[in-house]
Assembly symmetry: C2
Homo-oligomer: 323 residues x 2
């Protein structure tokens, strides 16, 4: 079955969502950020997860969208905390309105995300809500670690990987687990799908780190080298710092955490160290490891192979993307 | 039964709550604000509501505390939005830590509030969660209206009363409804208790407006006249503006929304207009109306009169308080 079959269901479901009316200043920002688009990967994973076990997806669209509303809630609050001016090329909510509107609209979005789950049949409801809440708290923990790392001098690679697991991967895992549970999977299969999603999420985030440095400027949406310019502690930088010899360490120290008179020179100097240390192939190796581990979990799910194809296909798309 | 029987149960339950450990900067602010104290009125209402129908309160303490965690979440985010330096005489979270910590810790508190409800028996769970979510969204709506009113020139008395209903009263109503439902009440009785709580909440908030102007400086916790100094559109001010003659309107216009060279003179001038217009007895009349309407709902609840006594007593305490 083609992915468009699922994305069409999601688009129809999204168009039907109602967040509230009054005060307009509370609810308009929610419609705005939900309308900015995006790939709707999380609810798509939920539908694909359910589709492994059932053809009856109509009742699953609404709870699937809980993951999308939740994800956009985190974007809204994260953009405020990061003081980001743009989201998907448009003004962020705190810029277009103000910080207080961003705080309060985000709060209501979290409430609305929960509400999308309440039609789940009673025997599953408490379990799904516990898993959703645990995931939600973990995503907040990931964001807090990410902010903490900005000012911490010593961040280990293990800490970084745990941060991206919490901030990005667990929600992809939950989206798949949710679909599995709603589709009637066993708890064991639901957990394999969750681990598949977590692995894909980790690989996806590392790919993001890699694209920032080695992406094609023409197809990569953001400015290439942005992470280097902003001294972001990515997997690439932390690995380079861990493996650098004295000379390389000096080059990194000269550029990272220092004022940037020439951004292009900074990117080139740091990238040269990465190249010497073969950071790119090392990162690709870790991405492949996460990807293959993830696929093993998908393989162990008891479902027809033909039905696993769209998930396989989507996972590949996510990792081969150029932007 | 004495109120201390219920407050002791709540204190023990509060002491057992666990919000999370790492990162410390995410969870320490939650322990901090929950530890600042307060009267714990909302979970107390839940226990008293349940006690009308059952003696078995042990399983109700945890869901009752959802209302307290939620309430403190709103305080945390409201204090940030209002840029308040103090909460219960201590530094607010955004002051003691920073605004980002306040945003994210608050977000996790909302998640934790939901989690406290998930042990509710399955046949009630979805209904309780729908009502909780509706209440949570309404509280956010009330806060947004409150912020909007600061910059709006025309706010009607009806709009103001609706704002305090949303911002304050509906959560007291939900706390009682929750207790009733968990205690085994009919939906009809649960709704009467909800309306009792909403009425008490409206009366309580109007009493707050009144105390700000006519409270005893020695017993009132805040500075008397603070609402007048800050041009807050309270029931008293809006009623005075609606009923003022040309001369009184001129006095109000001369002081409200103007720079304050002499705060004491401003308070005295505005209070003089209130006195001329008999704003105090008018407000007391409305408080009494809400209180009596609320009591009628309590009377209609099918439960032993002796069990209603603690609720009656608490409602009186809330309205006769001097701070």
């Amino acid at each position: 079955m083609d992915l468009s079959y699922f994305t069409n269901k999601l688009s129809a479901g999204l168009a039907e969502l109602r967040y509230g009316d009054q005060p307009i200043s509370l609810y308009e920002p929610i419609r705005y950020i939900m309308g900015l688009g995006g790939k709707r990967i999380r609810p798509l994973l939920t539908l694909l997860g359910a589709h492994l076990f059932t053809d009856d997806l109509d009742a699953i669209v609404k709870p699937a969208l809980a993951t999308e509303v939740f994800h956009n809630f985190t974007l809204l609050h994260d953009d405020l905390m990061d003081q980001a001016p743009l989201r998907r090329g448009q003004a962020t909510v705190h810029e277009k309105w103000n910080p207080n509107v961003a705080i309060l609209s985000g709060d209501v979005m979290l409430v609305r995300a929960y509400e999308l789950l309440f039609d789940i049949r009673p025997e599953l409801l408490a379990h799904v809500l516990r898993r959703f809440s645990q995931t939600a708290a973990e995503v907040c923990e990931g964001q807090q670690w990410d902010m903490n790392f900005e000012t911490e001098t010593e961040v280990s690679i293990a800490q970084y990987l745990d941060m991206i697991r919490l901030k990005t991967a667990v929600l992809l895992g939950f989206a798949l687990e949710l679909g599995a549970l709603l589709g009637g999977a066993s708890r064991e299969d639901a957990d394999h799908l969750r681990q598949f999603g977590v692995g894909i999420g980790l690989a996806f985030q590392l790919r993001d780190d890699l694209l920032d440095v080695y992406g094609d400027a023409a197809t990569f949406g953001k400015r290439v080298g942005g992470d280097i310019v902003s001294d972001k502690k990515t997997y690439l930088l932390l690995t380079a710092q861990a493996q650098a010899n004295a000379a390389q360490r000096a080059v990194l120290a000269q550029h990272i955490g220092q004022p940037v008179p020439d951004a292009e020179a900074k990117v080139q100097a740091v990238r040269a160290v990465y190249d010497e240390l073969e950071i790119r192939p090392q990162t690709e190796q870790l991405i492949n490891k996460y990807f293959l581990d993830a696929l093993q979990h998908l393989e162990r799910v008891v479902a027809p192979e033909t039905r696993k194809k769209p998930l396989h296909q989507l996972a590949l798309q996510l990792l081969e993307r150029e932007s």
